[in-house]
């Protein structure tokens, strides 16, 4: 019985030790805020090949946003309507079609260190052609992913159109 008592004491001590010795741990995801004045693009917006646009979104976190490569933008075609936006509003899609030479864009970006709020300030230029010729216009999916320092991540998917100016 002595042994039993000893072991239960050690055990209890360990339990108390580990449960009392706590610092606050960040358990909250960051936020991609699309409600800021001047946010672009929004769900159902249209972009144009051969033009530039300012990517303007507000990132927030309760503790600290990530820094190196901490947000990414991915633009891929949605001609087959495979992707769904994460927004409530549904946009009017074009007819389904097969891709011939769709546009793909994947890029990651840094956020200055030590921020809990950050307004993006980048200019993205869309080409009109690539090595295979003129890019397909139509329904695209604009996908934003953001992380905080802790490794929590959040995603937003927007349904947009990318068109050639002047053709339509």
């Amino acid at each position: 019985m002595k042994q039993i008592k000893l072991f239960s004491l050690i055990f209890l001590a360990m339990v108390i030790f580990t449960t009392c010795n706590k610092e606050e741990i960040d358990k909250q995801k960051p936020e991609i805020d699309l409600s800021m004045q001047g946010t672009f693009p929004l769900n159902c917006d249209t972009l144009y090949f051969g033009e530039s646009f300012d990517f303007k979104v507000l990132f927030k976190d309760n503790a600290e946003l990530g820094s190196t490569k901490s947000y990414s933008i991915d633009i891929h075609h949605n001609f087959d309507h495979h992707s769904h936006s994460t927004e409530v509003e549904n946009c009017k899609s074009e007819e389904k079609k097969d891709p011939i030479n769709p546009f793909t864009f994947i890029e990651d970006y840094d956020i200055p260190e030590g921020l809990d709020m950050y307004e993006t300030n980048i200019k993205i230029t869309l080409p009109t052609t690539n090595n295979s010729g003129i890019l397909d216009e139509g329904d695209y999916h604009f996908y934003i992913s953001l992380t905080d320092k802790e490794g929590w991540s959040v995603q937003k998917g927007l349904s947009i159109k990318i068109l050639h100016r002047g053709i339509n």
Partner: protein, 808 residues
């Protein structure tokens, strides 16, 4: 008073024997090593062959014995047969203790009693489960049927697939052994289950805690040891048909087994077929990120599936030699929830998917597992030799519509060696050989030496990349000794050495991606895996002590266990399509080392039992997949990058169980479990580990009766399950609210003419509660666990040929 009765009784007996003219009474008591009575033991007097069986108290008596010399033989399955000479010239009372026979334990269906002995003789904490338990608690898969056990939980995907978790550790930290050979599939993946037919599992031992010593690398968290151990009785030819129905996913399952034996030869065959539809959840839409995917009639779109299994077994039983050959193929096909597979919330062709709730559309997986095993045992006198040889092939294919991501071409080229729809495929060939010898030096001392080895050849296919092709060799040897210090105390210790080698093969993308170098963009086929060649070696050990005074049982075990890093941890470099993450391996990982202290304390009396099994555990270098704050730009759609690294981890926890018999047929019980994990170093210092099960308890009330009218072995059982919230999380998990569930089960045997049909019925989630299971794979995308489920199991034995009554 007592003396008076004895005297009177003795006098009566004395008088009676005089009247009966020199015949006497031999009575006695049979008990086991732990002084517990052994009911059902066969007692035989030779050469007369006058015999009987011990009653529930372990007592027997043989009447009308003429004066003379006899040989008394007492035998019981799982125990060494005892012979003693008795000379009878008056009424005598004898007492005998039987010793568990380690030599034959594996050939018998482990009865509750043998299970009890096993528990008392093992210094690690174990649970033993038989077919009856599995029927009464059957879930969608073998592991779901086991997760009621304290300390056991599962990682589920869909209604029929799950992976074992022991005290919060799962995947490659739990070894599953079937018929002596380690089951090898793609254990690291959370998106598919264990390729084991739950009907074919007859006896299961669950080792809670590190068991690397006997089971090698990967057994660092525990072991699920499954055996098809029963050998049919001589001269029998029988069959058994199991039927199962479930309301939640409209499951129909059936399994037919035929088995027989003629003298030393026996064979059995089993055919299992299971087919199920989409499962129902108590919600009408699923919130994937902020997109609400509407469900049709509460059904989780495209989670239907089926399973087709075949098992064959032939074997021979000789006096000193037993050999069994197992051939089995387990094949399943199951759909993935269509709205959430891939890299983002997906649009689905609702009309196509919701037309039928039984069809399997994209995305889905096919898994087939082939096994050939030979298991042999030779024993004579003090020596026992066991060999297990196995060949396995695990083939898994994941199919989905081609959607280009990253820089994959928009139109799938027709020049590739794989089909456009093949997302990923793994084809693994495993060759295993185990040899084990044990020598019983004396009644008190047992030595065991053993060697485990295996060779794995894992090939990959398909358009997506996560792990490379690899070859892995491992070999380990151990020495183990067991010493009885007294009748009630036992010391055991063991030592093991392992060597392993892992070689990965180079992999390059089949499509080109743009690399920006000094402002120039170059398109190239990216290299995702290199030719890596790593050697690992390690020692592990374990010391345990058991102390079993009367109704108490105390155990202590301290051990060091280890685990070799797997190919995924060393060389992953791709997108995890289910977790929307990009995973990067670390070629420099060292083998995981774990130190653990296990305790077990149990009290057992006729009416009341209570036990607890606490543990303390320290990992000096736990392999952890750390979610970083970086993103990847060359695969997927800009996913968050997860890196493998190593950190110190401290864990502790305990299980508790107790039951009390209020009145004869009514028993109340409680089962509880708790695990705490904390990373002590590294980037996530202070955080827990992923998939940590929350604390939970089951309050149970059970009514059991031997006979009610036409029903035998009747039981009614109500489980009230309480689960605490899980707020201890790491990215990308979500905190999960606590919940309460009520499950009901009842059943028994019905006598139909000479047949006895077993029926068990369950209602799981009686109140159709909407709840989330923290370790459910679909938890991350907010899919609640299944709603109310009615489950019916019927087991019909069919006697093809009568057993010849063997007069002993």
């Amino acid at each position: 008073m007592n003396k008076l009765i004895v005297l009177l009784l003795g006098m009566t007996l004395f008088c009676m024997s005089i009247i009966a003219q020199e015949t006497y009474l031999l009575s006695g008591h049979v008990f086991d090593e732990n002084k517990l009575p052994l009911p059902g033991a066969t007692v035989m007097l030779l050469p007369e062959k006058n015999g009987t069986v011990t009653n529930a108290q372990g007592d027997f008596s043989i009447n009308n014995l003429p004066k003379g010399k006899y040989v008394l033989e007492i035998s019981f399955v799982g125990y060494k047969t005892l012979r003693d000479s008795v000379s009878i010239s008056k009424n005598i009372v004898v007492k005998y203790r039987l010793q568990a026979s380690l030599l034959t334990l594996q050939e018998v269906v482990v009865t509750d009693h043998a299970a009890e002995t096993l528990k008392r003789e093992t210094s690690l904490n174990i649970e033993v489960v038989n077919t009856e338990y599995l029927k009464q608690n059957s879930g969608g898969s073998l592991m779901q049927s086991l997760n009621r056990l304290p300390g056991i939980s599962t990682i589920d995907i869909g209604s029929g697939q799950s992976k074992p978790v022991i005290r919060g550790l799962g995947f490659n930290r739990v070894v599953v052994v079937e018929n002596g050979v380690k089951h090898e599939g793609q254990q690291w993946g959370a998106d598919h289950g264990l390729e084991i037919d739950q009907y074919a599992a007859e006896n299961i031992e669950v080792v809670k805690g590190p068991a690397s010593l006997m089971y090698g690398s990967d057994a660092i968290g525990g072991v699920i040891d499954i055996n098809q151990s029963a050998i049919p009785t001589d001269g029998s030819l029988k069959a058994n048909l199991d039927l199962m129905g479930k309301s939640n996913n409209n499951l129909f399952g059936s399994s037919l087994a035929v088995y027989g034996r003629k003298k030393w030869f026996f064979a059995n065959a089993r055919l299992t077929y299971i087919d199920y539809g989409d499962y129902k959840v108590p919600t009408d839409s699923i919130d994937i990120y902020s997109y609400k995917a509407a469900l049709h009639k509460n059904k989780l779109r495209n989670t239907a599936g089926n399973e087709k299994n075949l098992h064959l077994q032939v074997g021979l039983v000789k006096k000193y030699f037993t050999s069994k050959f197992f051939v089995s193929t387990v094949n399943s096909e199951s759909g993935f929830f269509a709205n959430a597979h891939g890299l983002e919330p997906r649009n689905v062709d609702v009309e196509l998917h919701d037309k039928s709730d039984r069809d399997i559309q994209f995305p889905y997986q096919e898994v087939s597992h082939l096994k050939l095993i030979n298991k042999s045992l030779w024993h004579k006198n003090a020596v026992k030799l066991e060999t297990d040889f196995g060949f396995q092939r695990n083939n898994r294919n994941e199919w989905s519509e081609y959607v280009s991501h990253g820089y994959m071409p928009a139109i799938f080229p027709d020049t590739l060696p794989f089909s456009a729809e093949l997302e990923r495929a793994f084809d693994k060939y495993i060759y295993s050989a185990n040899v084990k010898g044990s020598y019983t030096l004396s009644e008190k001392t047992l030595f065991t030496v053993g060697l485990n080895s295996d060779y794995q050849d894992n090939r990959i296919d398909g358009r997506g990349f996560i792990i490379p092709t690899y070859r892995q060799t491992s070999i380990g040897g151990f020495l183990y000794a067991k010493q009885h210090l007294s009748e009630i105390s036992l010391l055991q210790a063991g030592f093991r050495y392992d060597y392993g080698n892992l070689q990965t093969q180079e992999y390059n993308d089949w499509f080109m991606s743009p690399i920006v170098n000094n402002g120039d963009t170059i398109w190239q086929y990216l290299n995702r895996a290199i030719n890596l060649n790593r050697d690992f070696s390690n020692t592990s050990w374990s010391i345990g002590y058991n102390f079993n005074p009367e109704q108490w049982s105390l155990k202590v075990n301290v051990g060091k266990s280890f685990r070799m890093p797997i190919a995924k941890e060393l060389a992953a470099n791709g997108v995890n399509y289910h977790h929307f993450s990009y995973e990067v391996g670390n070629a420099d990982l060292s083998p995981e080392i774990s130190y653990q202290l296990d305790l077990g304390l149990e009290y057992n009396s006729m009416k009341f039992a209570i036990g607890t099994t606490p543990f303390l555990n320290y990992f000096s270098n736990y392999i952890y997949l750390n979610p970083s704050s970086e993103h990847d730009r060359l695969y997927g759609n800009g996913n968050q990058v997860f890196y493998y690294n190593q950190c110190e981890v401290f864990r502790f926890g305990a299980e508790l169980h107790a039951h009390y018999q209020i009145i004869k047929p009514l028993q109340i019980g409680i089962i509880g479990e708790y695990v705490y994990s904390e990373q002590l170093s590294g980037e996530k210092k202070g955080r827990t580990l992923p998939f940590s099960p929350p604390a939970s308890a089951i309050l149970n009330i059970k009514y059991q009766k031997q006979k009610i009218k036409y029903f035998e072995n009747v039981y009614v059982s109500i489980d009230y399950k309480l689960t605490a919230p899980q707020n201890n999380i790491v990215p990308p998990e979500e905190t999960t609210a606590g919940y309460q569930l009520i499950n009901l089960s009842l059943g028994g045997d019905v006598k139909l003419k000479k047949q006895s049909v077993n029926i068990s019925f369950q209602i799981q989630n009686l109140f159709n509660t909407k709840y989330f299971n923290h370790t459910n794979y679909y938890r991350l995308i907010n899919v609640p666990d299944p709603g109310r489920n009615f489950i019916l199991n019927i087991s019909i034995p069919i006697s093809i040929k009568k057993i010849k009554s063997n007069t002993v």
